[in-house]
Structures are given as structure tokens and as C-alpha cells.
Symmetry: C2
Subunit: 342 residues, 2 copies
Amino acid sequence: MDKGVKIVLDACGGDNAPDEIIKGAYEALKKKENLHIIFAGPEDEIKQKVENYTDIPTDRVSYCNATEVIEMAEPPVKAIRSKKDSSIVKGLTLVKNGEADAFVSAGSTGAILVGGQLIVGKQRGVKRAPLAPIMPTMNGVTLLIDCGANVDARPEHLVSFAKMGSIYMENVLKKKNPTVGLLSIGTEEEKGNALVKETLPLLKECEDINFIGPVEARDLPFGVADVVVTEAFAGNIALKMYEGTAKMLMKVLKESLTANLRSKLGAAMALPSLKEHMKAFDASRYGGAPLLGLKGLVVKAHGSSTAVEINNAILQCMVFFKEDINGKIAAEMNTEENSNGI
Amino acid sequence: MDKGVKIVLDACGGDNAPDEIIKGAYEALKKKENLHIIFAGPEDEIKQKVENYTDIPTDRVSYCNATEVIEMAEPPVKAIRSKKDSSIVKGLTLVKNGEADAFVSAGSTGAILVGGQLIVGKQRGVKRAPLAPIMPTMNGVTLLIDCGANVDARPEHLVSFAKMGSIYMENVLKKKNPTVGLLSIGTEEEKGNALVKETLPLLKECEDINFIGPVEARDLPFGVADVVVTEAFAGNIALKMYEGTAKMLMKVLKESLTANLRSKLGAAMALPSLKEHMKAFDASRYGGAPLLGLKGLVVKAHGSSTAVEINNAILQCMVFFKEDINGKIAAEMNTEENSNGI
């Protein structure tokens, strides 16, 4: 029998906490009968809001009282060490102790990354746990791995990111035999920095991934590869540049369409088609970014997450366990460990 | 008396060579009486096309015969070493020998970067010559330095990029007391990779630049700083991601606006305002990306350059000499050399 999945949800994290977080959980609970949600946050306040949903299945809801909040701008290591009663530290501790399977938060990325590695801990054979956000592109989605967990990574880390990313893409996002590209500054093999040049031959040797070679940043928005492997600093720059450029252009587009009566009328006519075409880029459909290679699952949802993202992040966790991603990563990493000792 | 500026123009470089290159030169020659253009390329063919402009001032035009072409995909170092009769090698050699002041090309970025450093050579006191493209943003333009010349740079190189970038921004692009940001993965000082963390205190100590601290990629499209300093790998990723995202979104916008009759009618009405708002992002207004810190001036124009870009790149070279940028860089770098020995 299905034992179900227990997810700790950070009720204090993100711009729309706690209301949208609770709403997202409510929607997921209604959809999935084998789901149990533990809300981490100030219990009395959260419980009251949760019970406003009168038909919420209370037997599948519990609470983890946490009175402190880690703010977005706090130095992560210090915050994790000093705020023992925060929703992030207490939530991650439940995962560490096996009292929950996964932790989902729209809170401080830094604190989640540091806490995930320090508190939950890495799986055997995993040297670095990468953060792998999903980028909607013109041609499906791309998993960009790593985007923030490990700056100054080494070539062997990038190889393990490629393997973990392929497993996630194939099993959670259901892309068969996903293509893997290595982010570089040209598609020619002689371009790139030292890390890229050292990683390239290692990735070519990997038989268990579908490596297509170096890929350029300009081709990422067009969906050049299903999994794009990179060191976290460059990955973060690529992701933030993608978000920032899209945000800026949408702002300019909006300003231009509302500039005068003529443009407003035109915009009103063109809007349905524009909305239809932009649907593919709605990141909320894909939930959050998993921090892969940990003993449990930790998912970072976008800071601006609404109920839709939270709901989808929870459903994504359910697939993660159904497909036994950690088992598959463990099998892959242990093979690696046996074969070459890294 | 003004001695004039002599510019070698690569007649073979870029997607629209030689016609648009020649047209751009023709327009600049008509505008600037102290400009002399040397066309580098197959002389007979180019001369014939140039002389189709019957009113071109032939006394201010000359030729540098070059029979080889360096292709975009060729490994740069090998190409520069083996193709001695290419427009890039011969053009750069004229600058090296003092027979020309500047070299402008829309050809292979790699070959121009390598050739610029190997053939023209660096100014005294300059350790690395950065490529500094201009990014049009929602709030003026940003000089992104470095974007391709020196992967794996060290902190002291980034400091010199900040200084050279400030000089260029202030004197060529006429931005008074330009702000300088250091590209990072957060605005907090404890974020970033080892290079960022080591560079940060050095930039803070610089009294001759207007340093505003770390800046995030997501804020670049909004024009967060006038000069953004970065190591070339990350800079190239940021720039290419900017170009790629804009290109992709414009494609989606076009598809959505031409999807059906209703959207087409709406688009026709909104178009004038849209075009007006998008004008600020027309990179062709700013010419090319200078490779700073060389003994002469080398400018890389975009591969897709038309006559407008080439014309503007030439005019940008004229300002470079009028403002004696190399003299200013030399003064700055020599001070640096005297004060701390790097």
C-alpha cells in the first residue's frame, strides 16, 4: 500500500505568505489523498487560517510551531546557525529526522541552500547538492543546474550535476532521453574557461547521459537543451538575466501598449492572442527548483509564489517520491563511486 | 591643426560584408572631413564597389589588399597565426605599425580579440585588454566590461577594467561620473564567488571610480549601473542571455500579433507606439564594442552590423581619439603601476 508523502511547508516564506501558501496546500490536499502537510510557522496564527478552509482534511494536516523568521537579506550561514526556532531550520530538521519527506519554501534562497546541505545533509556519494530551477523556453522547459548552491565548482561536480539533472528531467518532468548541454561562451570546443575545458572531455565520456556539447547562452531561451549544466555563479547570472530581461521587456511592452488611445485599442484586440502565446512561459506551472542530491527533498519556490506555484511544487514533490529519484541518484552516484572513486 | 583619424575597416567581416560595410564608411566619410578610411579586403573587388559611390572623397580612401578571410568558426589563435593575408591580420598590422589609428571589424570576435592582443599589443601598464560592449537598457546604456577577452581573470584585472570602463563611459559616451557595479549573484557583500569577494574590497578602495557595490544580473536590463565589471565568461553569458531572451521574446510577440485577423488589426494599431518605445534598445546607435587598453584602438562591431552600425562605430572611434582615451588610460595605469606595483 502507498505509504503517502509527508511535506513540510514553510508557511512564513515568500512575498505572499502565509495566505497563498496555505491556499496552495489546501488545493494540493484536495487533489492528492496520500498527501500529508505539516505547516511550519507560528502555530496559532497558521492553524486559524488553515481552518478557515472548513473542508480541509484535518487528519492530513499538522503543525510545527516556529516563532522566528529568516529574512531574505540575512547572511544565510549565520541565520541558519542562530535562528533555531525559524520555520526553515525547524522544517528542515523534520526532514533530517525522517519525520517528513520533503521541505518546500518560498523563503530566502541562501538560507534554504545552506540549511538543506547543513541540516538535511547530502546523500552518500554526492559531493555537491545543486539547485536546479526550471526555465520555460520557446521549445519546452530547460533544467538549469546549478543556479546557486555551489560557486567555484570543480569538473567532477559538473559531471554529477549532469547525471542528477538527467534523472530529474527524465523522471519528474517526463522528457525521454533528455539532451544535456554544457553552458559556454561558444559552441566550439576550444572556447570557454578552464572549468568548461576540463569538464568537456569528462561529459563526453559519460555513457548514461545524452550529451550534445557546449551550448551558448543566447540559445537557452530557444530551448537548445533539456538540461544545461553550469557552475552556480554563471548559472545564476544566466537565470537572473533571463528573468530580468523578460520583466523589463514586458514593462516596455505594457508602457507602449498603454501609451495612447490608438495603442490601447490595438492592445485590447491583440491581447487574447498575446496571452495565449505567453502561456508557455508561465513558470508557476512548474513549481519550484529542487535542491538535488540531499537525503530528503528540499524545494525552493520562487519568492513571488502564489497558490498555483505552491500547489505545483507540492505535486512535483509527489512525483519525486513516486519515481524514487533519490534511489535513482544513489544508484548512479554509487556506480560512479565504485568505478572511479570520486 | 587636427591631424585626422585613419581607420582600417575590415571589408570582409560580418554577415553583410562588403556592401553594408562600404555604405557605412561612405556615410561616415561624408560626415567627417578629418576621417580617412583604409579598406582591408580583396582590393579589386572592394575598390569597384567603393567607386560605385561616385561622390566618395577618393583622396581620403585607400586600400590594404587582403586575399584571405578568417571564418567565424575558425579557432582564433590558429587563424591569426596561419592566415597572414587575411583582412584581420593585415588590418591589425597597419595599426601596430602606426599606419592607422584604429581597426573596425564585424568579423570573428575570437580572431579580433586574439589578434588585437597579439598584433597590436597592450599599452604599458595594462595587463589585460577587455572587450566592452554597450548594452542598451531601460535607463540609458551600460558598458559591460569584460565580455570575451580574458576568461579566468584575477581581481586586479577587474579593478583595471573598472577604471578603463569609467574612462570610456565618461569621455566617449559622455556620462558624467559614471556609476560602476560589480556583477554578482546578490547585492549583499557576502554573496558571490571567490573572485567577486576578493575584488570587492579592491574596488571599494579605488578613489577614482564611482563604485556602487555588487549588482545583480536581473537589474542589468533596467540600467542599474553605467559600467558593470565582470570576468569575461560571466560577462559573455550575461550579454548573450540578454540578446537571446530579447530575440526570443520578440519572436513570440511577432507570432502572437500575426496569429489571426483580430490580432493583426490590433498590432497594426499598436505598432507606432511599440516602435517608438523600442527605439531606445536599438544597439546599432552605439556602434561596436571597443577592446580597451591596446596601443591602438580595435573595435568589434556586431556580426549582423548594417551600414548604421558601421557608421556609428567609425564615429565612436573619432571620439575616442578626440578625447585621447588611450592617453587617459595610460595616465591611470601608470599611476596604478607606481602606487602599488601591479
